[in-house]
């Protein structure tokens, strides 16, 4: 490689890296926790999925009680399930039967959250099939949801900058793209030395080589993983960039057509018939039929169109049992009037190219195709990404601490690195502390988590920015984070009675896993802290940054 190219790779890698590092750290850190989203939700709400796994979901019971409460006639009802939970998001439209709709127009209520607005007396809430209770989205908001949404910056969408798309998602997409760019430049930069330096790691030599080695060694080892995340991440969060021009080139600008073609939506219309269905409505039987047809699939969505009308249809969507098929998604539409299947795409037999590509993107990003072993490996690789980012910041700073660099520039470099380090590293203690807070406080909702997490984060960051000591930032946040993580299972035991041995005995492995996970994280944290301290003693007088 000639010198010119090398230096260009170097410079573009540095600039794109320093540009995105802080946000990318947030994405990686929150995203790594999100592998355990369902476990976190089970943990926080004390409702284990695993210990009720065999329980049959009674859709008819929910629909009957909804019918009594709201009169479902003429409404569309959509139930959206998440794997390994008993929670479902219920989305109910206003009735299409104009004879039932009250003449006086009810005041359009503005609803916050996820930007959905329902017309008339439509409802949107979360229902739990085990506890048989319903909560609004805000009430049911938990740490699993919070960290999951934080990892694509959903909370930033509330920043009042209107560009035509969600602000947070746009930033997340841009960061993911620059991350991809930084990965490519980083690989090119290191290309000549990939083989010879693969095992070079000199942790106990001088500060600069520690960070450089950590950055390149972990970067190269984690490269395939991070590359997958960069690409799938952009696709999942900001594919509009790509879809929009193709909509104009291939589909004359008709976006509903392209979404239909890509199986993202189904534009079928069901015209309301204004005549009552005579037979008894048994939605459950359609689900059971589908289950039998598709060999125990995961039912992801159940949609009922025009409830109680002759035009009533039941749509069941699901994915194949992962033991059978990696990538199948299926949809079946039943016409209730004559009990006929009017459309079917099985998730087992006719898997299309679209299905395959989509599944690869989803499965690889969510890491949900191989049980806990895979999730743990993914989590470790995710945290390795965090280490690569932090060491990248430090390489950047340490490499510029030379006499040849003017003092004001060095001052600025330190100022920037100090802020980045404080903001990034504070995430660990704040996240762990919030987990304890949601256990201590019995009434937790979205507002509580927002306030506790974001103000806590601000306080910690402000403190470490003010301290202006990178070594302290590093060591103290690791220590505090580990202490709080250690207390997570204790808080679960004291406030919910779910001590690890109890959840083990009850077979609530999803709750137990999160406690064990926090415990291991704490132990690793303590060990790193101990190592850092040991190293301090060894090379006194201390280097400015270690």
């Amino acid at each position: 490689m000639n010198n010119r190219k090398y230096n260009i790779y170097f410079h573009t890698h540095t600039i794109s890296g320093i540009f995105i590092c802080a946000i990318l750290f947030v994405i990686f850190f929150a995203g790594s926790y999100s592998f355990f989203k369902k476990e976190i939700s089970a943990w926080q709400s004390n409702s284990s999925y695993v210990s009720h796994e065999k329980q049959v979901i009674r859709y008819d019971r929910l629909l009957d009680s909804l019918n009594q409460q709201y009169n479902l006639t003429g409404r569309d009802i959509s139930l959206f399930f998440q794997e390994k939970t008993f929670d479902t998001y219920v989305d109910m439209s206003a009735s299409k039967d104009s004879t039932l709709v009250p003449k006086k127009k009810p005041e359009a209520k503005k609803e916050k959250g996820r930007g959905r607005r329902r017309e008339g007396d439509g409802q949107y809430f979360k229902y739990n099939f085990i506890k048989r209770d319903s909560k609004t989205y805000e009430q049911s908001y938990d740490m699993g949801e919070f960290l999951y949404r934080l990892h694509f910056l959903a909370q930033l969408n509330q920043v009042p900058i209107r560009l035509g798309f969600a602000f947070g998602y746009m930033i997340a997409g841009l960061v993911a793209f620059l991350f991809l760019f930084a990965l490519i430049t980083g690989l090119m930069l290191h290309w000549d030395k990939i083989v010879s330096n693969f095992f070079v790691f000199r942790p106990w030599s001088k500060a600069k080589t520690v960070w450089t080695d950590a950055h390149t060694a972990l970067g190269v080892i984690g490269f395939p993983y991070q590359f997958i995340y960069a690409v799938t991440g952009i696709v999942l969060i900001f594919n509009t960039v790509l879809i929009t021009p193709f909509t104009y080139i291939f589909y004359d600008g008709k976006s509903e057509k392209i979404f239909q073609d890509l199986d993202y939506s189904d534009a079928r219309e069901y015209t309301y018939g204004y005549s009552r269905l005579t037979q008894k409505i048994d939605v459950q039987s359609y689900v059971d039929r589908t289950r039998k047809m598709w060999g125990d699939p995961f039912i992801q969505r159940l949609i009922v169109k025009n409830y109680g009308d002759t035009s009533m249809h039941v749509i069941v969507e699901g994915t194949a049992n992962k033991k059978d098929n990696f990538s199948g998604t299926g949809r079946v539409i039943y016409r209730v009037q004559d009990d006929k299947i009017i459309y079917q795409k099985s998730p087992i037999d006719n898997v299309t190219y679209i299905d395959r590509v989509k599944s690869i993107i989803y499965r690889l990003h969510f890491g949900d195709y191989g049980g806990y072993a895979l999730k743990i490996v993914y989590f470790i690789l995710g945290l390795m990404g965090c280490v690569v980012i932090i060491s990248g910041i430090l390489v950047w700073l340490v490499g510029r601490e030379k006499d040849s660099i003017p003092a004001h520039k060095r001052k600025f470099n330190f100022w920037l690195a100090n802020i980045f380090m404080a903001a990034c590293m504070s995430m660990f203690p704040v996240t762990a502390l919030t987990f304890i807070a949601v256990k201590v406080n019995s009434a937790v909702d979205q507002a509580f988590i927002y306030h506790f997490y974001f103000y806590g984060w601000l306080l910690f960051s402000a403190y470490y920015i003010f301290r202006r000591n990178l070594k302290r930032t590093n060591q103290e946040t690791v220590l505090l984070g580990s202490i709080f993580s250690l207390l997570i299972p204790v808080a679960n035991g004291i406030y919910s009675g779910n001590w690890i041995w109890k959840t083990y005995a009850a077979g609530a492995s999803d709750i137990m896993i999160f406690d064990l996970f926090s415990l291991s994280l704490a132990l690793v944290g303590f060990y790193s802290f101990y190592k850092m301290k040991q190293k301090d003693k060894k090379d006194l007088p201390a280097v400015a940054i270690a």
């Binding site: 170097f10 021009p245 193709f246």
Partner: protein, 93 residues
């Protein structure tokens, strides 16, 4: 340790041209290149594949712009390529 300045673009205007060439020009080349496949394969398959290959190609084209000696040359190259790839559309084929 920072990159040797000798090899980097000094003029801010040149740098601006390179960044825009890579970002905007690279994007146009990527889209126009992928839509060509729509003449051979079903459009929906092309769109789905582009979800993966498109972003990688775009990132590589962005890097390629920085490697160029002269900014106007890379702009010219990307414009010519875009026009070339979209010839079928321009000629209404």
């Amino acid at each position: 340790m920072p990159a040797n300045k000798k090899y980097l673009t000094k003029s801010p205007f040149q740098r601006f041209l390179k960044i825009t060439a890579g970002f905007i020009g690279g994007y146009c080349v990527m889209i126009s290149f992928h839509q060509l496949f729509g003449y051979v394969f079903e459009p929906k398959l092309v769109v789905m594949t582009a979800a993966i290959t498109g972003y990688i190609l775009w990132a590589v084209l962005l890097l390629f712009a920085f490697l160029a000696e002269k900014a106007w040359k890379i702009w010219l190259l990307y414009i010519v390529l875009t026009l070339l790839f979209s010839l079928p559309i321009l000629l209404k084929l």
